[in-house]
Symmetry: C2
Subunit: 242 residues, 2 copies
């Protein structure tokens, strides 16, 4: 009954909410990173082929490193939980009295006193699983991350590639076979990236459970500022070096 309630709260549109979070953050990172390459190259007037080559190289390398990094950190967080849990089992086994005293402290802090406190401590420490579970939540304040490393990494990778390729679309499809000016391609790329960030920013508000407009504004502002920085750096360095 309790578990049912939690699960239904955490599922939205058949997706587990936690994977929407990977989709959103992977997508935002992909779009912003790739658009920064586009903006930096445009600021330095580097030409269409440089944008496409370094944009794609960056997209694939960053998407790979972000998602594999994500795999390792999700795995590390789960392993860390398991290791602490194993240590608590060991302590319960070998340092029973000290661990029992800690359960007593925990329940004393909750307002239990006298004979009732004794009885509570007895019940908790009569079942090793309950005992360790209490130590994990109350002493270490750790709860297990329910995410599967391989799933978080896959969703991040696919989202990074899909959303992150959007800033390059105009260059790939229009840039090579016609006389469209660089500045016009950059405009199209900016518009497409803006639309993508708006959609992902709106989805972000599902994850953060906040106002949808705040999610969109935050995401657009972040992308706009990162791209402006890249453009500015490209522009300044062009004058220095070229």
């Amino acid at each position: 009954m309790l578990h049912h309630e939690i699960q239904s709260e955490d599922k939205i549109l058949f997706f587990k909410k936690e994977y929407i979070s990977e989709f959103v953050y992977g997508g935002i990172d992909g779009a912003i990173t790739t658009f920064a390459v586009v903006a930096g190259a445009e600021g330095a007037s580097l030409g269409i082929t440089v944008v496409i080559i370094l944009g794609l190289a960056n997209l694939i390398a960053d998407g790979f490193s972000m998602s594999v990094g994500n795999y390792f950190s999700t795995k590390a967080s789960r392993d860390n939980f398991d290791r602490h849990k194993a240590r608590e089992y060991w302590e319960v086994e070998h340092l029973g009295e000290a661990e029992k005293a800690e359960i007593r402290e925990v329940y004393e802090a909750k307002g239990f006193r006298g004979e009732l406190l004794n009885q509570v401590v007895e019940v908790i420490t009569s079942d090793k699983d309950v005992w360790v579970d209490t130590m994990m939540k109350e002493e270490l304040e750790m709860t297990k991350d329910g995410k599967t490393p391989i799933k978080t990494a896959s969703v991040t990778f696919l989202s990074f590639l899909a959303v992150g390729s959007i800033p390059l679309l105009a260059y790939i499809f229009a840039g090579l076979d016609s006389g469209i000016a660089n500045s016009e391609l950059f405009l199209y790329s900016s518009i497409l990236t803006g639309i993508a960030l708006t959609i992902v920013g709106a989805l972000k508000s599902i994850v953060t459970e906040r106002n949808i407009m705040a999610g969109i504004a935050e995401t657009l502002l972040l992308g706009g500022l990162a791209a402006s920085l890249a453009y500015f750096v490209g522009d300044v360095l062009e004058q220095v070096f070229m």
Copy 2:
């Protein structure tokens, strides 16, 4: 006493362990991302100025977007906790009987029965803070993230910039005023990046509490594969487009 124990466990070399984690992941991401630009440009034979311009533009834009994104997501996770907690306070206030029944379920699952169960439920629900705290940990399995958004973002940004600039050092200091070949600069950049990833990979094992060799191997492999992908994409696209 309990809190003292937890804090001392989480501090290493005067740093809170959680901020070592930001340093490590910011640094790894910075070095891998920047080295991917270097490798992609080398694969496509794009020249030293392109490496420096897009490397720096990417470093600053990515460092900014990663750390600000980090700020928002740490903040969102804390806000999410606070919102759920406020909701539990509301439920305790307005749906007291249902929430009391949930506390009963939680403690029944721990092995409490009969009169003792009644008494435990009475004590827990006699203090609203204890009641809500129990709902947060036992029903929602949520514990508060102790990290401060502005600190995690700052550490991430500085680490991203500091470690992420290492792949560019050879190009910036040796590339512009001498006749060193591109391939030689790429070799120096690879060696410096390898050293940086080795150090940060070793630090990562402090965060993950795992074998130091595994931390180094994992980090070097990840950086090497990401750079190889970027090099390969650059190389293939050079043949297609140039």
